[in-house]
């Protein structure tokens, strides 16, 4: 599906701030994969997602989607195939618009024309889709999104993204800004949607338990490299302790933020 070949990303090349954020990464994402990504702050996780989504272009290397080279395609073109959710719940929806208008805009990818497609039939369809969230939002379709909580907005972003049937979804700590209860709800929704709709997904999380519990593959990143990968049987047998040991073995140093990794939230 998506393949990264020898990708490196250098920020501020040739300046005093030169920073090798991604260092020669090779990665093949197969259809149906649900990959969790862990690593300390600054490891390059978000940068990796930015490279896949196209908001930045790699300094070296090539990215292909289903065999076609997309290394230089702008983000908006890749967005037709790649869905993305950020940590900030405000980034997925427009606050100044009603729920139904937001759903109209995200209903279909690509340029919008001069027709008005929001009609009663579509509203019915939206209602049916919103019911899946079990948040009662189907009764609030005319309300401005500014009135919704972060958890509700993130759940909506997730639903709207899933409905547009992307080939790959990228979740960048998408529950980290939510309170524990909402984080759990959104995470479970995520897992459910990925299964039900047979999506291919990558999920960055700072919670090692989640990284182990969800998905079929796990990547550990450090200093711009993927230093450890587990899948299948090996992944199922992982524990937080084993992961931390792995890091010690590979890097001969203690994990920069053992504390956050062991956090139970």
């Amino acid at each position: 599906m998506i393949e990264l070949k020898n990708i490196s990303m250098i920020f501020g090349q040739g300046t005093v701030n030169e920073n090798l954020a991604i260092n020669g990464i090779n990665l093949k994402v197969n259809e149906g994969d649900f990959i969790t990504v862990i690593g300390s702050n600054g490891a390059g996780k978000s940068t990796l997602f930015n490279l896949i989504a196209g908001s930045i272009t790699p300094t070296v290397g090539a990215i292909s989607l289903n065999g076609a080279d997309i290394t230089r395609h702008p983000e908006y073109r890749r967005a037709r195939f790649i869905g993305r959710i950020f940590q900030n719940p405000l980034l997925g929806t427009a606050s100044n618009m009603s729920l139904e208008d937001n759903m109209m805009i995200t209903r279909k990818k690509g340029f919008k024309w001069l027709k008005r497609s929001l009609n009663s039939r579509m509203r019915e369809q939206f209602r049916g889709e919103l019911v899946q969230l079990k948040m009662g939002l189907e009764e609030r379709m005319k309300e401005n999104l500014a009135l919704f909580s972060g958890g509700q907005r993130q759940a909506l972003t997730l639903l709207m993204m899933v409905l547009s049937r992307p080939e790959l979804i990228l979740l960048d700590e998408h529950t980290a800004a939510l309170d524990p209860k909402n984080a759990q709800i959104v995470l479970e929704l995520t897992d459910r949607f990925i299964r039900e709709y047979g999506l291919t997904a990558m999920m960055i999380t700072h919670n090692m338990h989640h990284a182990i519990e969800y998905g079929n593959r796990l990547l550990m990143m450090d200093k711009g490299e993927i230093i450890f990968e587990a899948s299948g049987e090996e992944k199922r047998g992982l524990t937080v302790e084993k992961l931390i040991d792995k890091f010690h073995q590979i890097r001969h140093q203690s994990f920069e933020n053992d504390r956050t990794l062991l956090a139970d939230d």
Binding site: Y76, F86, L90, L91, A94, N96, M104
Partner: protein, 303 residues
């Protein structure tokens, strides 16, 4: 003459709708306006002098404005120039263009020529009392444009443009190129501004390169007055109405200042100072609201 108070507000109200689109819907502070307003006036004047059909002239003025807006968006999008600077660049270039359009003159009088306004006066005299013909005409024109805009911003395209002003990332994530949307939005905005300039030239009886000087400030002040007048709403129909009413109020105040300011020892030269002070007062008054708004945002973030 009392109707003159409102006529100006309605003519310039078309410009205010344009400014509303760039500043409020696109969230793009566009200074092209100071150049596209006299551009519309110049194109209209040149068409009138050369005997071009008046409806075609209005269309050309609109098209000229669209082009100006698109130039600004292209400078901004492709050269990664900040939006303010992109607008100033186009505005500066337009100064020369406008003099060219006026036939290497800075001012072209239109008295004793047939204009849209003389035609309308002929047509409506007898039906509407003479003093109110222009008022009726411009109420109709301004409302028609307002309604068309309302319809446009309820279409899929219009709504997506609205979403971009609020959240560009969302639009990118939808697979839409935000540059295209900005070009469309700025084109529409400046088209309206130029159309307003075309009507203003006919109303004033001349076109002048200096016609647009500081017009953006008047436009912005009108938008802010409109927002201040009416409760916050996200319905496009209410917002465009606010913009028009804001314009009518603003130009009524300016009108009074111009004709009766001498009572308090004020000259027309003081008007720019008054406009600036007015905007500062409005900014201070709305600051409170803004703070509340950002507080709401932080709550959502920490939710």
């Amino acid at each position: 003459m009392i109707e003159g108070i409102f006529v100006e507000g309605l003519i310039y109200g078309i410009m205010v709708l344009g400014v509303f689109i760039s500043f409020r819907i696109l969230d793009f502070p566009d200074l092209t306006v100071d150049g596209s307003f006299p551009l519309g006036a110049a194109i209209m004047a040149q068409c009138i002098l050369s005997g071009t059909s008046l409806s075609l002239a209005l269309l050309l003025a609109f098209a000229g404005g669209v082009l100006a807006g698109v130039v600004t968006s292209l400078i901004h999008n492709h050269l990664k120039v900040p939006n303010l600077l992109a607008g100033i660049l186009t505005m500066t270039m337009l100064y020369s263009v406008n003099i060219r359009v006026l036939g290497n003159r800075a001012n072209v009088p239109l008295l004793n020529h047939d204009t849209v306004l003389t035609k309308v006066t002929e047509l409506l005299s007898g039906i509407v009392p003479d003093d109110y013909i222009l008022l009726v005409f411009f109420v109709l024109v301004a409302m028609a444009i307002k309604l068309l805009l309302d319809i446009f911003f309820r279409t899929d395209l219009g709504m997506t443009i609205g979403a971009m002003g609020n959240n560009e990332q969302m639009v990118i994530s939808q697979g839409v190129n935000p540059m295209t949307l900005k070009s469309i939005g700025l084109g529409l905005s400046n088209g309206l501004v130029a159309l307003s300039g075309a009507f203003a030239a006919q109303y004033l009886g001349f076109a002048d390169v200096g016609l647009g000087q500081g017009i953006i400030i008047s436009g912005l002040a009108s938008v802010m007055i409109g927002e201040f007048l009416i409760l916050k709403s996200n319905r496009i129909g209410v917002l465009t109405l606010c913009a028009l009413l804001g314009s009518v109020c603003f130009y009524a105040v300016m009108y009074v200042g111009r004709y009766y300011g001498y009572v308090v020892n004020m000259t027309p030269n003081d008007l720019n100072l008054i406009k600036g002070v007015l905007i500062i007062i409005l900014l201070v008054l709305t600051q409170g609201k803004k703070l509340k708004k950002s507080a709401v945002k932080t709550v959502v973030k920490n939710d």
